[in-house]
């Protein structure tokens, strides 16, 4: 029992220290984070196009539905943004991974703390963006149910972990090939089409939408957006699929990590 308490207390201290130090680090880059958050405004541009289409009665969505959907997609993408592949690739190629490997803590916690701290730094910007959005688009205003918010928060937390696990697994290939971030660019092609970023999956052919629900992609945009806006979504299936992919990529990641370390030559170190 004492050992468990000691271990928990050590974990808490490491987590809070990593988080506070990386928060300070992210604040050094606040201007970059602002610009990065602006890049995430793409769904709101697409929203304009779809609202035009809705006004002409071309879809079953009203302009307000589209506005709410794309706003929720914007939020979901802000909370599930992951860039660990770029950090890891740089650390492996530049030899910076070596000092991390010499410490009695898995380097993944440093990357994870960086992402969590960035989320905290981004939060005030999101509040500002949201207020401006609802001022500009009064037809999009709505008050989501508490249950929907909680469900969406849980889905976003899982989606972030899943996105991190997938990208960190691909990043492991940096032990064998040097430019793994190129793979990420190919991922974006599939991501844009199947995540629901360019259009709600309800507008896709039903077979495509049903098949997409078994891939990880809709869980980074469409699924949490549906939950937050109170629109129909396969909730049980969604969470099961997310947990399944998460377990799969966790195993893949650990296998690649162990093999990669054996392969690692401490390049440039």
């Amino acid at each position: 029992m004492t050992r468990i308490i000691t271990r928990l207390s050590r974990t808490r201290r490491i987590a809070s220290t990593l988080l506070s130090v990386w928060y300070a680090y992210m604040l050094e880059y606040r201007a970059e984070i602002f610009l990065w958050a602006m890049v995430g405004l793409l769904p709101l541009i697409l929203m304009g196009l779809w609202m035009q289409a809705a006004a002409s009665g071309a879809t079953a969505f009203s302009p307000g539905d589209f506005a709410r959907y794309f706003f929720a997609v914007f939020l979901a993408r802000q909370f599930t943004a992951v860039w660990v592949i770029y950090d890891f690739e740089y650390d492996v190629v530049d030899g910076r991974l070596s000092p991390y490997l010499l410490q009695p803590i898995d380097p993944v916690w440093r990357y994870m703390a960086g992402h969590a701290a960035e989320r905290l730094t981004r939060l005030p910007l999101l509040v500002g963006f949201s207020l401006a959005f609802f001022w500009l688009f009064p037809e999009a205003r709505w008050l989501p149910a508490v249950g929907d918010v909680l469900l969406c928060a849980l889905a976003l937390a899982l989606a972030f972990l899943l996105r991190f696990a997938i990208q960190y697994s691909v990043a492991m290939l940096a032990f064998w090939i040097e430019r793994v971030s190129e793979i990420e660019k190919f991922w974006f092609l599939l991501f844009f089409f199947f995540s629901g970023t360019i259009a709600p999956l309800d507008l896709y052919p039903p077979a495509v939408r049903d098949a997409a629900m078994y891939t990880p992609f809709p869980y980074f945009a469409y699924f949490p957006a549906q939950l937050l806006t109170g629109r129909p979504a396969p909730i049980a299936l969604g969470f099961v699929v997310m947990l399944g992919w998460l377990a799969f990529f966790f195993v893949v990641n650990r296998v690649l990590w162990r093999r990669g370390l054996k392969q690692h030559s401490g390049m440039g170190a």
């Binding site: 050094e28 030899g95 070596s98 010499l102 009695p104 401490g266």
Partner: protein, 344 residues
């Protein structure tokens, strides 16, 4: 009982070989060729607790590769090593807590934040109580002469200050075994001297074992009573370097800055003329003749400046390789031409 043991340690790996030019690029694209690099070849040694041992050798000799194997960063291709009773590559927590590896060119400090922030992370990771961590930071800062620099972003520090801060971060958990790879590389003479003093005092205070690589013979002679020479992946000497230099290098180098140019024949009576470049000359003088020849040089030649030193370590290594050290039992004479590839 030795704290570091290496037995027949070897490391080889494949590296892509590409010829220059467009044709070479196309060939490389179509059919990739690799060559096998034998970075460390059958190296064996042991080190007792508290020893400071120098690892000396030219670029690509295999020093860094050996340190990486001993610190668990890379897996040996053959042989075994044991550090403080652990197999390094297993990287278990107790092993990682007992060692540190400092690489002159690589940093663990967070570039945009003050040093103290990186130290806070290390204190948490190594589970050092906060009050104790503060005490250790103060102690290390005093030993290294760092004060206000600790609250400055790392990127604003000078190279010497950064190296000292790296040492602080690497030693906060008070490791008993230090692997140091070129810890004074790129530092000015004063910073080099202060890092050396610090390492010596850390060794004395904590009884730490230090294995140190360096290009600078001054580092090695100031810190180590025992030196290992490695070249092309092979350990060619293990013992007292000063004694070896004494024996293998019967001559000392005399470098002269002269007020006018002299012909080689004019300088020949004083020693073996190695080079003459304008008004700078470089002679080799036998050790036993030195005290007799130096006053003659000063009285017979128009000398502006004169320095006396040992031949470069590379030259001594060459002599060892050529089998000139056969009399010493410590020297392992390798098969000529046996070592081909090497990598740092």
């Amino acid at each position: 009982m030795p704290i570091i043991v290496a037995e027949h340690l070897s490391k080889s790996y494949r590296a892509a070989a590409k010829e220059p030019g467009m044709l070479g690029t196309l060939r490389h694209f179509v059919r990739r060729r690799y060559r096998l690099i034998e970075a460390v070849r059958d190296v064996s040694f042991s080190i007792e607790p508290g020893e400071i041992v120098g690892f000396l050798g030219p670029n690509g000799a295999g020093k860094t590769t050996a340190l990486k194997m001993l610190s668990g960063l890379i897996h040996p291709t053959a042989g075994r090593c044991e550090v403080a009773g652990h197999t390094p590559f297993a990287r278990d927590s107790a092993f990682l807590r007992s060692i540190t590896l400092v690489m002159g060119q690589k940093q663990q400090l967070i570039w945009d934040l003050p040093v103290l922030d990186s130290l806070r992370i290390n204190a948490a990771v190594y589970d050092i109580p906060e009050a104790e961590a503060r005490r250790r930071v103060d102690e290390l800062a005093a030993m290294l002469g760092l004060t206000t620099q600790l609250t400055q972003p790392v990127r604003k520090l000078s190279l010497g200050e950064r190296m000292k801060a790296e040492l602080m971060a690497a030693l906060l958990h008070r490791p008993s075994i230090l692997f140091l790879d070129e810890p004074t590389l790129g530092l000015d003479v004063n910073a080099q001297a202060s890092v050396r003093e610090f390492l010596l005092s850390y060794n004395q205070r904590h009884g730490a074992t230090i294995l140190l690589t360096s290009h600078y013979k001054a580092d090695i002679t100031a810190l180590c009573r025992r030196e290992m020479l490695i070249d092309k992946g092979t350990l060619i000497y293990d013992g007292d370097l000063a004694a070896m230099i004494e024996r293998l290098a019967p001559c000392r180098e005399v470098r002269l800055d002269l007020r006018r140019a002299y012909a080689a024949e004019e300088l020949a009576p004083f020693g073996e003329v190695r080079t003459i470049e304008g008004r700078a000359a470089h002679l080799l003088v036998r050790r036993e003749d030195l005290t007799r020849v130096l006053p003659r040089i000063l009285s017979d030649l128009d000398v502006e400046d004169l320095t006396v030193g040992d031949p470069p370590v590379e030259q001594i290594i060459g002599q060892v390789f050529n089998g000139q050290a056969s009399a010493n039992a410590d020297v392992q004479t390798p098969t000529p031409g046996a070592a081909q590839g090497a990598a740092t």
